[in-house]
């Protein structure tokens, strides 16, 4: 692989997202190994000032009022001619909402294959080998692009962020626009009662809790530990806990001293938010739950049995 590795930059509220730096980190390593160059594509309006912070060989800045905020149609329209022209070997995109729109849209528009939910991208035998998580993290697939080139959507937290870099910055005119999807605004949640990103002990619950009434058991354990209760997505979706308590891709990223995962299977979207915890203890009735692949300690048991026993033990 000697061609370009193109990274689609994601930014919001005037800041580059962490996932973009992670993509650039791996892109630079692959380029160093394969002899290619890393090209970041920054779409926006008045964003040229962000380009210097990107650890790429080159940043293409496409500025247009229609690109002021992310829009799936505007991004796709602007990216298609750039990728057609530069024909990069590899296009790296974050596995975020915007990333899914961009990557799958480009794949269909350009006839480039797409490998989704990647947790690793390496060069082996001169071409990219992509490791993808499937079936909620229960299966890993190693895939190659049949034609050698393709697009990869990468799960957050898979790579170390890129550092340094004084990229060549090049302004590129927007080749096409598509205003069929118009950005109206960002809506932010009201601050919650508890900021789970600042707690040192989190007792986190998932579907295994079974019923809302069982939350009392978990609240008691968290109180005994001087921590707070957090959750995986289904608990927030059910309205059993506020959205501000949700850990994961669509929730918050947490790094507590202790993370006790109760009845959480550990889908990739959840692991993304908590794998940085110093100590992870998981209790789940399914011995094959992916949570055990990131936990430091695990127990295959019903949380409804273990939690009251643990709370009692701590109280004694």
């Amino acid at each position: 692989m000697s061609g370009e590795i193109l990274v689609v930059v994601e930014h919001r509220d005037g800041a580059i997202l962490d996932t973009t730096h992670e993509l650039l980190g791996r892109a630079s390593a692959l380029a160093a190994q394969g002899g290619g160059a890393t090209v970041a594509v920054l779409l926006g309006s008045g964003v040229a000032g962000l380009a210097g912070s990107l650890s790429a060989s080159r940043v293409l800045v496409v500025e247009d009022p229609g690109l002021e905020s992310f829009s799936p149609s505007a991004y796709q329209a602007a990216l298609v001619p750039i990728i057609k022209e530069r024909a990069p070997d590899l296009v790296l995109v974050a596995n975020s909402g915007p990333g899914m729109d961009v990557a799958a849209g480009l794949s269909a528009a350009l006839g480039l294959p797409l490998a989704a939910y990647a947790v690793d991208v390496t060069l082996e035998g001169g071409s990219p080998l992509v490791t993808c998580q499937l079936y909620a993290g229960k299966i890993q697939a190693k895939v190659r692009f049949t034609g050698g080139r393709g697009i990869v959507t990468v799960v957050a937290g898979s790579f170390a962020p890129g550092t340094g870099g004084s990229p060549a910055v090049e302004q590129v005119a927007a080749g096409a626009s598509d205003a069929r999807i118009r950005f109206k605004g960002l809506l932010k949640p009201e601050a919650g009662d508890v900021d789970i990103t600042r707690e040192s002990v989190l007792v986190s619950v998932g579907r295994g809790i079974g019923e809302q009434d069982n939350l009392e058991l978990v609240e008691a354990l968290a109180a005994a530990l001087g921590g707070a209760v957090s959750s995986s997505r289904p608990i927030a979706d059910a309205g059993w806990l506020p959205r501000t308590r949700q850990v994961g891709k669509s929730g918050l990223k947490v790094k507590p001293k202790v993370y006790i995962a109760l009845g959480i299977s550990g889908a990739p979207e959840h692991l993304e938010g908590m794998r940085g915890a110093e100590l992870i203890i998981a209790v789940n009735s399914d011995a094959r739950a992916p949570i055990f692949s990131v936990a430091h300690y695990g127990a295959v048991a019903d949380l409804l049995d273990v939690v009251p026993a643990l709370t009692a033990k701590l109280g004694s």
Binding site: Y135, K138, G150, A224, G226, A238, S293
Partner: protein, 262 residues
């Protein structure tokens, strides 16, 4: 408003997944299938929007032999869909690009203003079907949608796309469009099993050709594996009391004890 929902079945994760003899796919011999969770949210939203302001809901699913596509579509009818259509004929769930080409072809003859499908599926290795179908049809698309409101006049919708930390982007989207639904405002409505069984015998499940197949995923699977679970975790065994005791000891080693000490 004519709503179309794209549905599929996926392997049931409650069952153990095993790798086949080639090491490049799943062993399908005893596999059981369930409706893809996010597709159920997409159907619920479509039914909700139709019930609120009128229109029709049509469910499309690929005619996959493995699993129970007739049951999937009959369940759609039992929940309140107006029409269900089976597209093409496949032994197994095809890759997302093949599925998208088939759905795009079928949508050429199925009237639609808004197409809804699950934001993702647990097996879409080569990408999400929603934006693939949309781009093949030349429609705009939004993924990870958590809120949909149809504008008066029905020429556009306002949707929310979910980002990290509970932040959402609000967009106005011209129709026709395709949305990848993350969650529905209500839990998917219940369909009594007896009603589904009855509909499987009596209801009309239409069929449509899949058209010219696309080029497929363009991916070569070198290997599939079950990640080694618990290789990093030290597993604690014993009865719940013994497990609790060990966890308390591990926490105590780190200075975390009872009594709410921080």
């Amino acid at each position: 408003m004519d709503y179309v929902v794209l549905l599929k079945q996926v392997p049931d994760l409650a069952e153990e997944l095993e790798i086949d003899a080639d090491g490049t796919g799943l062993d399908r011999e005893w596999m059981s299938f369930v409706a893809s969770e996010w597709d159920e949210y997409a159907l619920e939203e479509a039914l909700h929007l139709r019930d609120a302001s009128g229109g029709t809901v049509t469910c499309l699913a690929l005619g996959v032999e493995a699993g129970a596509v007739d049951e999937l579509l009959a369940t759609g009818l039992a929940r309140g869909a107006d029409r269900v259509v089976k597209v093409g004929s496949y032994e197994q769930n095809p890759d997302s690009h093949t599925a998208a080409a088939a759905f795009a072809s079928a949508l050429g003859s199925v009237k639609h203003d808004l197409v809804l499908t699950g934001v993702q599926a647990i097996d879409d290795l080569d990408g999400q079907v929603g934006p693939l179908v949309a781009t093949l049809l030349g429609h705009p698309h939004v993924s990870v949608v958590t809120h949909i409101a149809v504008a008066a006049g029905g020429s556009s919708v306002t949707v929310h796309q979910e980002y990290a930390g509970g932040v959402v982007g609000e967009f106005e989207v011209d129709l026709p469009a395709v949305l990848g639904v993350q969650t529905s405002r209500e839990a998917p409505r219940y369909a009594p099993v007896s009603r589904v069984r009855q509909l499987m015998k009596t209801a009309t499940i239409e069929s449509l050709e899949a058209g010219t197949p696309g080029t497929g995923s363009g991916l070569t699977i070198e290997s599939m594996s079950v990640p080694e679970s618990g290789t990093t975790a030290e597993m604690i065994t014993g009865n719940p009391g013994a497990i609790a005791e060990r966890i308390a000891a591990i926490l105590a080693e780190r200075g975390i004890t009872g009594g709410g000490a921080r």
